[in-house]
Amino acid sequence: MNAAAREAETLEQALARLDTLTAALERVSDEKAREAARELLALLLDLHGRAFERLSAIISASGDGPALFEQIVESRDIAAVLLLHGLHPQSVEERLQKVIARMRPQWNARGLHVDLISAGTAFAIVQLKRNGRAEPTQQLRLEIESALTDAAPDLDDILIEMDMTETYAETAA
């Protein structure tokens, strides 16, 4: 990829490519090459991680630290890197609640109700309730999942628990 193309790439595209390339590296059968890639990545991330940790400490220590942090994480580019290093000032729970609150009006209008049940370090569980309007289940799941995943790419998994009553009614009808 040339410099101009890289410049035009959006954050989403870059992250999707990162995901694809990581998956490709996982499949490299040459153990030496895979280990070298792994070590190089780990070292590079470690160097950045150290710098960001120092930076975070300096910001936190300054007078209006928290406000400054709020402002900084508004930048999606910075937020992505902080997430990767586990330095995002908001917890997984806060981030997911924020997305749910933002999406609520739109989801409610479609007869959907999403609740965060629990959020841990590896995965989160959300509950989806539906009333009335029937939408394809799989598509709904994907939509909710991707909205939440964007805010918490550091989770292994987001589990969507469904209130099945409506689905049964759907099948019976």
Binding site: L15, A16, L18, D19, T22, A23, L25, E26, E35, R38, L41, A42, L45, A80, L83, L84, R141, L142, E145, S146, T149, A152, P153, D154, L155, D156, D157, I158, L159, I160, E161, M162
Partner: protein, 207 residues
């Protein structure tokens, strides 16, 4: 509840980076480096991964022995064709090691059943060691004498036992019919070439 796999780039990248740390010592469960030591249980010939402390603590005991990865080509090895025939090994490829469990030398060689293992005459072993002093410091259970006399070759190596088991595995995997088939001998040739290359590298490292 249904589980959906989500493409979480940050978690995936982190997992990729920590895979190497997921190996653990079989004795104390501590996380270990991908290049860790191995112990062999003398009685069962089972391999275990070990952290440096456990390898040091258990590695020279009665129950376990630590593997030392080394491959030495034994030059000017003294073994006449008549002596070799006296060993009654039906094939020109074998390895011999001192086994604690068998209380003496054991020979292993490829055969129709995959591999054949037999007691090796104690007297013959003593004569071999007398003629080739390099064999005297062969560690029981973990090191072997590898003999290759195939197609007129006269090659002798001192190899760590895991290399021998690798050869057994190779033969089991590729052996076909009574004589093994072309595929198995090709695999064995590659293996031996790898051994020679390994020796070459070792020589280069030590000048």
């Amino acid at each position: 509840m249904e589980r959906i796999q989500s493409g979480n780039w940050a978690s995936r990248l982190r997992r990729f980076l920590t895979v190497a740390e997921e190996e653990h010592c079989d004795f104390c469960s501590k996380a270990i480096d991908s290049r860790h030591s191995h112990l062999i249980e003398r009685a069962t010939r089972k391999f275990f991964c070990a952290c440096p402390q456990c390898a040091l603590l258990l590695g020279a005991g009665d129950r376990y022995a630590a593997l030392h990865a080394r491959t030495h080509m034994l030059r000017d090895f003294d073994l006449s064709d008549a002596e070799w025939r006296g060993f009654r090994i039906p094939i020109d490829l074998a390895f011999v090691f001192r086994s604690t469990a068998a209380r003496g030398p054991v020979a292993i060689y490829p055969g129709p059943a995959g591999v054949t293992e037999s007691q090796f005459s104690v007297d013959a072993w003593s004569q071999l060691v007398a003629a080739n002093p390099a064999l005297a410091d062969l560690h029981p259970d973990v090191e072997a004498l590898l003999i290759n006399r195939m197609n007129g070759a006269r090659e002798y190596y001192l190899v760590s036992i895991d290399r021998c088991y690798a050869l057994i595995g190779l033969i089991r995997k590729h052996w076909r019919g009574l004589s093994g088939g072309a595929e198995v001998w090709e695999a064995v040739r590659d293996y031996l070439q790898g051994l020679r290359d390994g020796v070459w590298m070792e020589d280069a490292i030590h000048g």
